[in-house]
């Protein structure tokens, strides 16, 4: 699978976590493009919810996210977070 397709599939799985774990409205998530901000505006997560999202990501992708990586820039948008997940997955291969 090419990297773009991989990113698309990762973002899709991220969207599923947003709906199932964080109860973000399905319409909001489905209408979100990869550049949709996650915190505050856009998806509208707050700092507490980002931790729930990370727990969901760890479970879904089988990776471990260190505290040091939990900076606000990680949640810039779905693309940034998806790219980060892919880099963690690549590092564990």
């Amino acid at each position: 699978m090419n990297p773009e397709a991989n990113l698309e599939s990762t973002i899709l799985r991220l969207k599923m976590i947003l709906i199932s774990k964080l109860h973000v409205s399905k319409t909001t998530v489905e209408q979100s493009d990869p550049d949709q901000p996650l915190v505050g505006r856009g998806i509208g997560l707050d700092s507490m919810e980002t931790l729930t999202l990370i727990a969901g990501i760890e479970e879904e992708f089988g990776i471990s996210v260190p505290d040091e990586d939990l900076r606000i820039s990680l949640f810039t948008d779905l693309r940034t977070l998806g790219t980060y997940i892919m880099s963690k997955l690549a590092a564990t291969e």
């Binding site: 505050g40 505006r41 707050d46 700092s47 729930t52 727990a55 760890e58 990776i63």
Partner: protein
Amino acid sequence: MKDKSRIPTNLFEAFSLTAAEGSTRTAVIDGEPISYKQLNRLVQTASLEIRRRGVGRGDRVAILMPNSLEFVVAYFAILGAGAVVVPLNEQYQLNEILFAVDESQVKLIITEAGNLSLCQEVVHLSACKPGVVTTAETGGLNRSADTEAGFSPITMEADAPVMIQFSSGSTGAPKRIARTHANLLFELDSLRKTLSIRKEDRFLGVAPFSHVNGLVRTMLLSMTSGATLVPLRKFERQRAVRALVDERISVFIAVPFMFSVLAQMRLSGRPDFSALRLCISASAPMPENLNRDFAAKFGLYVRQLYGSTETGSISANLEYDPEPSLRAVGKPVQGVEVSVYLDDGSLAAPGEMGEFGVRSPGVVGGYLDLPELNRVTFREGYFLTGDLGRKEEDGTLFLLGRKKFFINKGGYKINPAEIEEVLETYPAVAEVAVIGVPTPLGDEKVKAVVICRTPCQEVELIDHCRGKIADFKIPSVIEFRDELPKTATGKIRKKMLLD
């Protein structure tokens, strides 16, 4: 020579006696370990500095800083000056801090360098014009400071206020609550006995000290029991786990959100949590499934504690085998009586749902300057909590809901009216109703249902809220509707918005 039989009459005396009895014991680990003797010196130095800045008996002093050694020093230094503590939430925005400062007539704000410019802005806009001092200036960072000659605390009476906190009102602005030295001494003694707290215990201080759970049940309980406190400036999952293991933490008191996040995190191997003997969750219900996940990972269940700012700690579920009653908030802690009232004011039968009323020496005398409200908030000496629940034959309490409409976000009680007021000032908004939507973590997320006057986007409304209210109050979900369900008298049916 110390007098072991001496019973403290105020909170500063309780701390001083504890510090004298266990002077060589480690009090706080925030960097280098600090003994009770060293902590006492830091408190005295800071207390004298506060007095030099004009603070005296009964004055109000606000603390705006994260969980830290400096917070502990500031708290007891204020008490040593005979003053009253006003703890401020670090997530508060300018207007929220301004409100608390002016309502409490704060004379001095103690903060750290990072918050200095915000505090200076508060001073500029405030009607009561408090002073501002950083921990560096109060000597709170001077860990080698020696006892100041001539220090003697200003003795406060047991019924004098020790701190002012704010309770989210179901209507109008937050209400001021003054807890007295006697209220807190009772609650701490009750908790010490109920939870079997010993000086060998080591507490993790991760719930914010600005809130009753972190402040009373962690900071004050540890520091008046001769135990060791390990404060963490903010909640970070791996850092919290490292502290639990490395510092051999035995008592961990936090909020469901934190336990739930830890229960779900990915751990490499099974860390050594053998020192951990007590995990207490308060401020919101702990979801059963996540409690089981936590027990599988950490080797013990999270025990639910029920309390409020107005009453202090009410009950705790300390059953030997908590599995059959995970949803219960347990039996009343020592010295606390709970009655359940029906709508007509009569007492409910065992197992029947009603409103919890609480009576104990830990309950406040009432809300400040609100005599009308106080008349209806107390019944036969019982404080009516607004919490709905049932009491079983054996005294076990189950919380079933709220009579008053609040949103519980990660343990913070939010008044929806406060958010509605902010949103209603946006020109495109015609009408708005804010509700709490339950999350799998046991708390609620903030949802705004909006009727627009002119077309507007979700992002505009979130941007409008930013900077006006703390981040945790900003709606996570905004739904646009054409109309809101209402009663015949025009009141919004908020429960219908949850469907």
